[in-house]
Symmetry: D2
Subunit: 342 residues, 4 copies
């Protein structure tokens, strides 16, 4: 069975496994203070085109979101998120466990916060004279791509940045699947842009070819984030394990190639499905595809293609999630299309 159900259910790119194997015998400074991690950080600063960027390697997405947000917010502040945002739904209240409310606003069909939605929320918030009795918005959380494969445009991000400036908010972008967004022809958002508009964002490793790990990039130096992430259990004793993965990912464009493989496959899949008249809900430009399949089509995939039911519809059809990843091949894509064509 060819598995499209998930983009983080197997190991890592061969280059990373090779690096891990090569480094296994050597001794490395602990807690991320090793030379490999230093080199990886340097490469990321170069990729972001910001020599002042402060880079940390954490282990996973929920950990990263809660650790970063708790470090940048003050106690009376909350973080504005799409109601469908990962921190608002599927992180077991990790942000609230650090004392901060997630302030939800409606997402568009792609799971994005539209700039106008954000502006309206903020205007409404401060127009209500009881606002000092409410949690103060202190940061905005976006995911790019979103949980629904949605992609921001550079213009939208710049507008959101402007709104953040107007209302003194920090901007944090969750890039758990960032490689796939960077490879999409349907958005002009670059690493450089993220480094420019975000106070902090992260470059996802776990879902983009690494065994595990996320690279947090702050726009400027953070005097105390070392202690802050140690406190949240997010400082890895053998930090070199994370550093070497990002070192490999940012050598010879591996991160971008891995992302391209996943997104190219997903878009080929989208093209093939479209040709069969399949519609999408929503229509994603990155590695996750959400086709609406009929009961007959679902039946045809049974036992051949692994997928995830996203939403069952009253008529027996369903929105399913098909995740391409850095490991997906053209043959895998053909297998899906072939199964449906039978």
């Amino acid at each position: 069975m060819i598995d499209f159900s998930c983009d983080y259910n197997c190991g890592c790119a061969p280059e990373i496994l090779a690096a891990l194997t090569a480094a296994n015998e050597s001794q490395h400074a602990t807690y991320g203070l090793d030379v490999i991690s230093a080199r990886a950080k340097e490469k990321i600063r170069a990729a972001v085109e910001n020599p002042d960027a402060d880079v940390y390697f954490l282990v996973g997405g929920t950990q990263t979101n809660a650790t970063v947000l708790s470090a940048i917010l003050r106690p009376w502040e909350g973080v504005v998120s799409a109601a469908s945002g990962h921190i608002a739904v599927h992180e077991s209240g990790a942000v609230e466990a650090t004392g901060h409310k997630v302030l939800t606003v409606a997402a568009d069909e792609y799971g994005r916060i539209e700039p106008e939605t954000l502006r309206d929320y903020l205007r409404g918030f401060y127009a209500d004279e009881t606002f000092p009795h409410m949690v103060q918005p202190g940061a905005v959380y976006l995911s790019h791509p979103t949980e629904y494969g949605g992609l921001y445009s550079a213009a939208a991000l710049r507008e959101i940045r402007a709104i953040c400036d107007e209302y003194a908010l920090q901007l944090f972008v969750d890039g758990a699947r960032l490689a796939y967004a960077l490879a999409s022809p349907e958005t002009d958002v670059t690493l450089r842009l993220l480094g420019e508009v975000c106070d902090v964002f992260y470059i996802g490793g776990t879902k983009c070819g690494a065994l595990l790990g996320e690279a947090v990039v702050f726009r400027g130096a953070q005097k105390h984030f070392f202690t802050a992430h140690k406190q949240r259990g997010a400082l890895l004793a053998k930090g070199y394990l994370l550093g070497l993965q990002f070192d490999a990912l940012f050598t010879d464009g591996l991160y971008f190639r891995l992302g391209k493989q996943g997104t190219d496959c997903a878009l080929a899949l989208r093209e093939g499905l479209r040709a069969m008249g399949v519609v999408f809900c929503p229509e994603s430009g990155s590695n996750q595809q959400f086709p609406v399949l009929t009961p007959g089509q679902l039946q045809k995939l049974q036992g051949k293609i692994g997928y995830e039911i996203w939403q069952r519809l009253p008529d027996g059809s369903a929105v399913i999630r098909l995740c391409a990843s850095w490991r997906t091949t053209g043959a895998d894509v053909d297998a899906v299309l072939d199964a449906l064509r039978v």
Copy 2:
């Protein structure tokens, strides 16, 4: 240079690297619900001789300590720890960040809480009629071996358990370096005993031959620990990575062999140093040795042997820490002794 400065500055045992490599291409259920993790848990339940034990794999020590303690304590409770305990000193306030005070008691010279110290503390606590205005002791935290290489005896652990029963406290043992304690001829504490006397303890992987990972063992089923550790960012997306390491560690006695290698080397080193008249502060029966060396002796190690200064003494001598590990060889031990003999 032969490095005795640290026992977590290199990779993993070859068996683990092989397992990791072998599993890299396959797809695995996420979040630790994979078959390899299930198998590893089964092996640990067998090793602990408790079929009801509930096992979870977390990433690192600070994360484990804070996650477990926050899950077992109620808000008004704190955890009793030796003043030199890792949670009291070197975890950046991770326990306090979850809202709980670390209640410190004096340790003996080995970093252990003596049963009588614990009893006196508890008697004194409840004898003070203002006790309802103070943080209530809710659990006891021990490390075995301690931060100073100290080892509890089975009798001491049983006595501490009895005190915990008397005062309705939970007992949690931090086993970050447990393999080395299990291999020591100087303690009769076994995995089975830990499973019996502890409400929860953990079997350290990071410092005992794994790349990373700690196996948390609860005496009975925990309905909500899955959510609890997700909330603290301690649930690994690719949980199979941790499961396969513990699967390897608990296959053919690997965990015990790795521990034995480290502890045997440490005790050989101790023997050799003793023969030279070196004293220890304290004298450890596990993988960490704390010899007191003269300035001349320190000089002799310079550039040949990596070590950590533990405490500088007024006369220029110093207590140093020499960590043997699963990777240390007899030749490494000889190198230290030879360097000093010159």
Copy 3:
């Protein structure tokens, strides 16, 4: 100007001021361990008809909500609240600051959680197989009357209790304005019923004739709530100040008389407004009235009657809030009606 804008902007009932004055010269045991507090607790246990009830006096509503909820929830649990619930909107994230998410469900037009809404939420929650990755519902928060003057029926509360039993949830009722609900002919909820269906509820003092204070009533003994509320800064050094107010309130039915005065006036006001053709949004059976007034009517109140704009409507009319209280008189009510009749 006759002020209907708020029901907590003046002092206390004369009986309370007299008690306070009488007790001012005496010495009282501290921290609520005084004889007056003991007597007040006994009276409340009698009023609730539960000799096992455990009663504590806290200072204010937000403090009470956060203190009680943090004491009854486990870290991975959240509290289900109407989206319009006070804890979800106007308490500055006090509940989240203790680490718990407020899980919001839609309220009916009266600000109540309908039993079916609660049941649907819980069914949907557990039907989603990703639920272990989400905050677990651990308690239900209701306010009676609600923030919109809404009143539960005994049948609704019993049904909610049954749902709580089915899903192992605790039920907490915020009774900040409870006196006014108890006096309403439009609900059959009694103190006894609250003591029966709630794990814990509170009898509001601040808005019901006391200077300040809320009486928290647990169905059974709480071994550690003394420490829990001390920890949240909610234990008053001079606890007798709160005890004596509730002692007075529960002597000769004062609490009920004060509530009746407020609710009777509010209902008279409602009757008078209705007779003028005014509609309500919503129509409340307790001390707060939410009439929809035209611009002309709003103009007529100007400078004569204090009120609060609740919601401005596009046509220039507005929903306003008129709060009657234990201090409101029939003459005050007439003043409003007269002003509008001019």
Copy 4:
């Protein structure tokens, strides 16, 4: 029986009761935004001689300590306190419940932190190269007078301020019994000095003649403390109740007179006891006295004078606490001395 056991077991000064009674019928803006509170704040700014001071009225000491500290610290920071400090011992972990560790240093016999002790602690902290793994000192907590009646000198406070500046720490002084310190001939610390050297301190009301209430004084404007203290349940709905008490206390020097009464009585008591050869442990210059009495002396007080056993000594004697307060009279003092003279 004349009660010297506690200084917060009775009501308030007559001037305050009169003000409370006078204001009981009027309507007041809520949440401390009333004119009486504004006037009280103005008087406090004048007393502190700092027109920029930002003043808030909270309800009690534990609440104030935890609310202020959580508002000024960042998550990775702790507060340095004497090991005998109230926040370290008798507040049920209120500070830890907000996520912050209390970093204890040894107190002198008076419960004070000596400047040299603070400097040594900080030097040692930063000299330890593992310091980024530890909670960072972010503020210093002092109480004046201390829990043992100890008094800082202006010179000591200035030196502590200089150390705070050197190490980028904030200085917070707990003035729960401040009136008694301000009245002591044995310290030159003034309100003005506190306003100058502290980032924030509080002027205690509860123990100094008010019914309840503490006035928090920040050196400069706090944009978000309103929300911060609402979040901690520390914003009183009827804020005028606190404002009017401080308005009375800072009218015609009442606060200073009340303090003087307590301290004068305490010093007279000290003088009388000294004349009998009684020693003190420690010898306090403020309203609390800690004489060491023989079993015979203790016997003589029995049934006549209320006191608190502070520490039982092996020979049957005891250190007792005798609290004078604003209500104590010369006759009360004589009663103690007479009882012992019999």
